[in-house]
Symmetry: C2
Subunit: 267 residues, 2 copies
């Protein structure tokens, strides 16, 4: 295993506290050669998810270049030299998927040397959540996009790769995107227990049953209705709007809204 020591550096970037104190340090930084060692490329991948018709779905793009030409994969892009990882993920989501201003969070960094046949690419995987009413967004030009059904072959939070189905048939995903997708589901299932994350997958106003269906789609199992209801109402995160759904062919349910400003307060 090649042990490299402190590589590189050339420009002094905006610094951080005592980062550039003494003259000695300034001199060191000025003489730092950033190009001495070969470096991996750094990319981001974004799994944009939604729940539609009780199914968990992910937005895939069809690759127009090698490698994996023609395969479907997550939305990906490279991190610019002066760009934060968060910004790169948001930019990629906007440029490749046409969505912005949505919930977006870092997941895990994938860096197996052979994961990209071109060269060494380390990818920081992210996931994003939108509600299905935004599904109709037009695709950014030049992007072939499809919403695929997410299917996992494991139960609970055990983990493993996930499959993406288009028109019912599983697609071989590019790179290690099946692993990423599986990890997204695993993370979401865990997070559902303590974080108000279901709301990101619903429009502003929703019924308790809508919320339950989102949870069920993510967890992959049915939930007890009464218990779910009680838990949600007791959480203090829901505000009743006083309005009810209409034209549903049965007793209409109350519409709720997520209290955004509630401090989650450590447990």
């Amino acid at each position: 295993m090649p042990r490299r020591r402190n590589p590189p550096a050339a420009k002094a970037a905006p610094a951080n506290q005592a980062g550039k104190g003494s003259a000695a340090e300034r001199a060191f930084l000025a003489g730092y050669d950033a190009a001495r060692f070969p470096r991996p490329s750094v990319a981001v991948d974004v799994a944009l998810l939604t729940v539609d018709e009780r199914r968990l779905r992910v937005l895939l793009t069809q690759r127009t270049e090698h490698p994996f030409l023609g395969h479907w994969g997550l939305l990906g892009g490279f991190v610019g030299f002066d760009e934060s990882i968060d910004a790169a993920a948001a930019r990629t989501l906007k440029a490749k998927g046409g969505h912005s201003g949505v919930f977006l969070e870092q997941l895990y960094t994938f860096g197996a040397p052979g994961r990209d046949p071109r060269t060494r690419v380390i990818s920081v995987a992210h996931y994003a959540l939108v509600h299905p009413e935004t599904l109709a967004q037009p695709a950014p030009q030049g992007q072939a996009l499809r919403w695929a059904d997410v299917q996992v072959s494991w139960a609970g939070e055990r983990g493993g790769p996930a499959a993406a189905l288009i028109d019912g048939s599983p697609q071989p995903l590019a790179f290690d995107h099946a692993e990423m997708l599986g990890l997204v589901v695993q993370r979401l299932r865990g997070k559902l227990n303590y974080a108000p994350i279901g709301f990101e997958l619903l429009p502003r106003d929703f019924t308790l049953f809508d919320l339950q269906q989102v949870h069920e789609a993510i967890l992959g199992r049915a939930l007890n209705k009464d218990s779910f209801r009680r838990r949600m109402l007791a959480s203090g995160l829901l505000a009743a709007t006083g309005r009810k759904e209409t034209a549903v062919g049965h007793r209409p349910a109350e519409l709720y809204r997520f209290k955004r400003n509630t401090r989650t307060a450590g447990r």
Copy 2:
């Protein structure tokens, strides 16, 4: 045998199905110029933790180079071009901290453009856990190492930076290591609820009270003894050894051992 638990089994996918099939694709790969764009450096940082005398502690190293010369920080190193991130973290932990074969897991990737004044460095933060009996390990040559007390100013799992105290006084940490350390504590507190992680901080045989003290040190609050005891025994993860602690000046407690092979089974 390093008992590492890494979530995604993202093994090298040299030939992920159609990854490098056609002649066209081979031609494309051959012509790919890996050095066309300036790239960030990729590093790893490892927070090696233990619980000793009921205190959560982290192993720090004193920097011998700019930037942050003389400051204390986590164990860090650069990722080799052909080296996986996991391997880089393990190598760094061994070379800079003198520990190997311990629990080591990826945490989060930090990539703010200004976080390293030398140049753009993206760092994949990790945390590792050892039990205090291994504390006496000699430091690798040339490394100034100290165990510091970890102190957080927030409660529960709210999150925020953490302080590291040497001889009772807080040390200004290099780079964004205070943020990393805080995130480690936050992650550990969350993980304690569902993962058998406390065992990594204990020797093979331990009492229930030992385990409770580990949990309390991580959570930063006292736990109900009976309840903790019941929960742990009910978890099915503990095997009674039939032996008891000795020379403790009171009734000796039973020694338990962690059942490593128990499948955690999704909830």
